[in-house]
Amino acid sequence: MFAGAPQYIVSGLTQGAAYGLIGLGFTMIFNTTGIINFAQGEFVMLGGMLSVCLLGAGLPLPLAIVAACLATAVIGGLMERLTIRPLAGAPAVNAVIITIGVSILLRGGAMLAFGKDTVALPAFSGVKPILALGAAIQPQSLWVLAVTLALLAALKLFFSATIQGKAMLACACQKKAASLVGISVARMALLSFAISGLIGATAGAILAPITMTAYDVGMMLGLKGFAACILGGLGNPFGAAAGGLLLGVLESFGAGYVASGYKDAFAFIVLLLLLFVKPSGLFGKAGVERV
């Protein structure tokens, strides 16, 4: 019965790491601005597509990826400045619609700029699988896990050791108080969108060699990232990463042991059950509503 288990776990973790990274991007923005950014999936798509495009234009692979991530960070910042900033104070659902509008714009732009075909990024270090613990592991999967852990560590450092990091956390807890002590909430929001763009693009770039990418892969990836950070506890960066890994493995097992057609459905069924039982997610603390 568990013949394929190691393989399911490996592919689940690889896929899950990417969901976790995307969830991380959601958390960055949610923590600082309270907005769920439905264009997060597009940041991931841009990471992949820009890397492929820059590679095609002659840049070496590592440089292409770094340039792509920085460009997406700039796009994230522009998005905050042009669309989110003027919206301060409008009802929350308007912010959701604006991010949906931006995701459509980014998708349309990518289609016109990169065309409609699926493209792939060459694997960072070859495709020869490494056979270990009864499963064939691609080198690229190790890159995905390694980069995810590196980013998590960098974020932990950023939040605990840098002023900007602490300032962003302050905005997350209490915007008014943060601005009272002189933190420019606006600049923190801009920073959060930029960093979230950077993280999303990184996820896109490291995933592209495995999953290939096209102008319209953003939406489903965005939804999975959103599910990951709800699973792990909205607002908790490490919860999002863990939620992503869990989501990936669940999908993989669901596809392997039950019915591959319903793979996506399992992820969302588990999510619904969790929402009904513990809305604050696995690692989030239940918010006490003051009467």
Partner: protein
């Protein structure tokens, strides 16, 4: 650079100022999925129709009149397809409709076209489009049944007994799956696994591991890019060596580019256009295929694919029917289409009868292999 057919239509209208009945253009309509998930099918179809239209009009059009095609993009969305067909019939009052690109949209608009007694030549392959026969509905894409038959004859030749199938969960995949589940047992094979993957899925190791568990002699993967390329790569990553057949859905250079080394040794049925130059000179359609492939490559700087061929066939069949009928009345075109025999198109030799509005025989597909990144003809 893309001269939109509509603009063409407008200036043609203005040009034809005089009441001269003869110079008035023949109006055809096309509903194609130029954007959306099926854009890799619709875009080459649109490009081909525009290219061939310029050629036809340069050679004097048909019945001495220029031909124009109002091309509408349904974005692979069924509502937009219905609205587009409505517009073509009621607003553009076209004589015949080319497309839609996908089976789903074709099934959705068939009724409307037939009700308005306007002939429709679909560019999709689903058998349900022409079975049971609707007098006004034709299709140019070869049925999945023919592609499956080609694979199974090859598998029979190799002496395989146990086959596993892995199909994509969209219109194309489902149609293939139904025919596979019918013909595999009928062909005396044993179906060991029936797995599915999503059009946007990015990892099929779970399905392949499960299939490997049933130790089949060969696996048939039925889908269109990018899924099958992921399957091919996963197969190499898992170190699986069981022979893998692909469907004609990936019979394009794009697939080889995406799958990279993982495409090595794969087998798939394809229209002859894919290997136009490599065809033996005795082949009747070679000259036509090579000409089409070359001009498409020059104009659109992209390798040709069988999908573009559907655009070619639907346009040329319509023009041929207008010439045979000597009029652009929808009813006359419908009747003329039904009488077309031995028309050498890109998809194959078309012969329509009142009972068969698909018009293609088994010769539509030949078996191809992939060696060192290029196609190899494996045998008729």
């Amino acid at each position: 650079m893309r001269i939109k057919a509509i603009l063409l239509a407008l200036c043609a209208l203005f040009a034809a100022t005089g009441p001269v009945r003869a110079a008035e253009p023949i109006r055809l309509g096309a509903v194609l999925s130029v954007t959306g998930p099926a854009s890799f099918l619709g875009e080459p179809e649109r490009n081909t129709i525009q290219m061939e239209l310029d050629k036809i009009n340069a050679a004097g059009g048909v019945l001495g009149r220029p031909v124009e095609v109002v091309i509408l993009d349904d974005e692979t969305d069924v509502n937009k397809a219905v609205l587009a067909v409505d517009r073509l019939i009621k607003k553009e009052n076209v004589a015949a409709i080319l497309g839609p690109t996908t089976s789903g949209n074709s099934l959705a608009v068939m009724g409307k076209a037939a009700a308005a007694k306007v002939p429709l030549i679909s560019c999709s392959a689903a058998e349900k489009i022409t079975k049971p026969v609707n007098p006004y509905i034709y299709k140019v894409a070869p049925s999945d049944r023919l592609a499956v038959a080609r694979i199974l004859t090859h598998a029979k030749g190799k002496g395989y007994k146990k086959l596993a199938i892995l199909t994509v969960s969209d219109g194309f995949g489902q149609a293939g799956r139904e025919v596979l589940k019918e013909l595999i047992p009928a062909g005396g094979f044993e179906m060991t696994a029936d797995e599915v993957f999503g059009p946007k899925d990015t990892d099929m190791t779970a399905q392949l591991t499960k299939i490997q568990g049933t130790s089949p002699d060969a696996v048939i993967c039925w889908g269109t890019n990018p899924g099958p390329a992921v399957v091919a790569k996963n197969r190499v990553q898992l170190g699986i060596t069981t022979p893998l057949y692909m469907s004609h859905g990936v019979a394009s250079k794009k697939f080889i580019e995406l799958a990279g080394d993982a495409a090595e040794g794969l087998l798939l049925p394809a229209g002859k256009i894919t290997v136009a130059e490599k065809l033996p000179d005795t082949d009747l359609e070679k000259t036509q295929l090579v000409a089409y492939a070359k001009s498409y490559d020059e104009r659109f700087k992209a390798p040709v694919s069988t999908f573009g061929g559907h655009g070619y066939d639907s346009l040329h069949l319509a023009v041929r029917a207008i010439a045979d009928a000597g009029s652009d009345k929808p009813e006359a075109i419908r009747d003329a289409l039904e009488k077309i025999k031995g028309f050498a198109g890109i998809g194959g030799i078309f012969t329509f009868t009142p009972e068969d509005h698909a018009g293609l025989g088994p010769d539509a597909f030949i078996m191809l292999g992939i060696e060192k990144g290029d196609w190899v003809i494996v045998g008729q």
